[in-house]
């Protein structure tokens, strides 16, 4: 190993001062002894007349040279003995280093600026989304005139990925929600002896509200994020640009198939989630209240008007379209760097879940007279 850096002060008989440096003055060796050496260097360097003898130094690198340089007050010591091979390390320091530009001071109106920026960005997103939607409508009109150009393969693969592959997770969550809802409701109903109303409560709440919203939230988290990330990665790897160069429109090949696929698979997923959640509710109701499976199933059509099912499925279609639109919009706006990919995906999922819940509230108000007798 290289010897440790060392520093010795020798005061000659005539009072002149000589500083002998030896060992390795590189970052490796200095790093451990910096706390001890730095103040000594500063102290010795205060005497301008002393001679610095670096001829005993074995190795010196830029960090070591910089340390001495700073001690000397950013210039060469007046009397300096240096090995010729160490000359270039010091000559590099003589180019004056400019300080980094200072950070811009904070604007006193920063609150207004931040809020304004946020608002403008929301408006910007809305405008861009309307533009994507408009392009999709134009593409649909084009496909109606030229049915041979319909991207069947993309649509079917998207239905498989967003629909068939989501059956497991929606079934698990739906079943557990059904069990919990039914268990808690039956506890309350038992107090009033209104056991049979468990069918009404479960039927209406699951088919009309919980099924569609639950499925939409799961699909937004699962497929929405996947769509955004996929488009984002395509932007990062310039695949989107390659498609544009070949004259293949993004909306026709990427966005439209995803929107159509989710519009098809979402109502099916909603139906599936409804069925499994009701199954869970049925199991719990039978255990808790002793309501038989056949009685539950046969009285369901009387308790829940069929309009609720159509409403739920209709919501499914709308949610599916919205999730796909939002996911594609955020995916296309990702910039070609990895950080933007992460932010874009998060924003996409948060936005689509929020929008799903807002739209669900709108549905609840619009259809308040439908399906509830």
């Amino acid at each position: 190993m290289t010897p440790a850096p060392d520093l010795r002060r020798i005061i000659a008989a005539d009072g002149s001062c000589r500083l002998e440096l030896s060992g390795a003055w590189n970052l490796q060796a200095l790093e451990r002894r910096l706390a001890e050496l730095a103040p000594r260097l500063a102290e010795y360097a205060a005497d301008q007349t002393s001679q610095w003898d670096l001829s005993g130094v074995d190795v010196i690198d830029h960090a070591g040279a910089m340390l001495l340089w700073r001690a000397w007050g950013r210039r060469r010591a007046a009397k300096l003995v240096l090995k010729p091979e160490h000359e270039p390390v010091f000559s590099r320091l003589e180019i004056p280093a400019e300080p980094a530009p200072p950070h811009a001071p904070r604007d006193p109106l920063w609150v207004v600026i931040v809020i304004g920026r946020k608002l403008l960005s929301v408006l910007d997103h809305l405008a861009a989304m309307v533009m994507v939607l408009g392009q999709v409508v134009l593409d649909t009109a084009y496909l109606v005139r030229q049915p041979s150009r319909i991207p069947w393969r993309e649509i079917s693969s998207n239905i498989y990925r967003t629909g068939a592959q989501a059956l497991g997770i929606t079934a698990l969550v739906g079943f557990l929600i059904g069990v919990v809802l039914s268990y808690l409701s039956s506890q309350q109903l038992k107090l009033f002896g209104a056991d049979a109303f468990i069918i009404n409560i479960l039927g209406i709440s699951v088919i009309r509200e919980l099924g569609p919203v639950l499925a939409a939230i799961l699909i937004a988290g699962r497929s929405g994020s996947a769509i955004t990330a996929q488009l984002g990665v395509m932007r990062v790897t310039q695949e989107l640009d390659a498609m544009a160069v070949m004259g293949i429109p993004h909306t026709l090949r990427l966005i439209l198939p995803k929107m159509l696929a989710l519009a098809v698979s979402m109502p099916l997923i909603v139906l599936w989630t409804d069925a499994i959640a009701l199954l869970g509710g049925m199991v719990s109701a039978s255990a808790e209240l002793g309501i038989g499976y056949s009685y539950f199933v046969s009285s369901l059509p009387d308790a829940v008007p069929i309009a609720n099912l159509w409403l739920g499925l209709g919501k499914g279609v709308v949610f599916g379209l919205l999730i796909a639109l939002i996911a594609c919009h955020f995916g296309l706006r990702i910039e070609p760097n990895t950080e933007s990919l992460g932010i874009g995906t998060t924003n996409s999922v948060v936005t689509s879940i929020t929008v799903v819940i807002i739209v669900d509230a709108v549905f609840a108000i619009m259809f308040k007279d439908v399906g509830i007798s």
């Binding site: 490796q28 830029h62 280093a97 980094a100």
Partner: protein
């Protein structure tokens, strides 16, 4: 002084059924600039990653600074990491950090250097690779490809390494920048007695920098030697690589410079 910095003994690399290296032996000595040459997909970068301990050998051993990378001393290997620097092909800058923070990161990780000295060292490294101070606050996403590469070099030099690994250092740089890059590596090599291991396809860089060349072909090292020795070899890959149109031009250009 023939002390070996890197010793590779009987190295096999395997990914699943795919064998990349079959029994590679290679010594890199202090102060030399070793170039790894080979066709695309011949495992040059993988060999470089083996030397950095980023891959695990299927068989054989890699020692750096006489310390086995996969031996029983993980703490010792961690200390090694302060003594080498690596320039990745795509730069591999941290996307969340500004240029200044990226170069300062390895210095701050030491936790013994005060912020003022870090500032001076970082600005010096940036100046060395030709980055103007006002770029220091930029984020990697705002930089051009050539700047990313130079900042990545500044980061790999931050800890004043004794050993520098370069993966395709001049790929994606314009000829002028390539030229100044070659000059910079030459200067650093002279000033700091750096040892450099470099993977490159660029014949001009290869010819200008290498003191020795190792040729990888068909999962083995075909030859290791000075440029003249390698060029004189009759292996078909070497004949194609150096004696093709482009190779001859690069060699001739350098020869004529040396002669004049």
């Amino acid at each position: 002084m023939a002390d070996s910095i890197i010793e590779i003994k009987g190295l096999w690399t395997q990914f699943g059924d795919h064998i990349v290296h079959r029994g590679i032996d290679l010594d890199v000595e202090r102060g030399e600039i070793m170039s790894l040459v080979g066709g695309s997909g011949s495992g040059k970068t993988t060999l470089l990653r083996q030397m950095l301990g980023l891959e695990t050998p299927a068989r054989g051993e890699v020692c750096v600074f006489s310390k086995s990378l996969h031996g029983s001393d993980p703490d010792g290997v961690r200390k090694l990491r302060d003594r080498w620097g690596m320039l990745f092909q795509e730069g591999a800058l941290f996307s969340a950090l500004s240029v200044f923070d990226t170069v300062a990161l390895p210095l701050r990780e030491l936790r013994t250097i005060d912020e003022e000295l870090i500032h001076d060292l970082v600005m010096m490294k940036l100046e060395m690779v030709g980055i103007e101070p006002y770029h220091a606050t930029k984020m990697p996403a705002e930089l051009s490809g050539g700047m990313v590469k130079r900042i990545a070099l500044a980061r790999s030099l931050a800890l004043e390494p004794e050993l520098l690994f370069l993966d395709e250092p001049t790929a994606g740089l314009d000829p002028d920048r390539s030229e100044s890059f070659v000059k910079l590596v030459q200067e650093l090599h002279r000033e700091l007695n750096l040892t450099v291991v470099m993977v490159t396809h660029d014949l001009d860089t290869l010819v200008a920098l290498s003191t020795r060349v190792a040729v990888l072909c068909e999962q083995r090292l075909v030859i290791v030697g000075t440029l003249d020795e390698v060029v004189a070899d009759s292996h078909p890959f070497i004949r194609n690589f150096f004696m093709g149109e482009r190779g001859r031009r690069a060699l001739e250009a350098v020869r004529s410079v040396i002669l004049t």
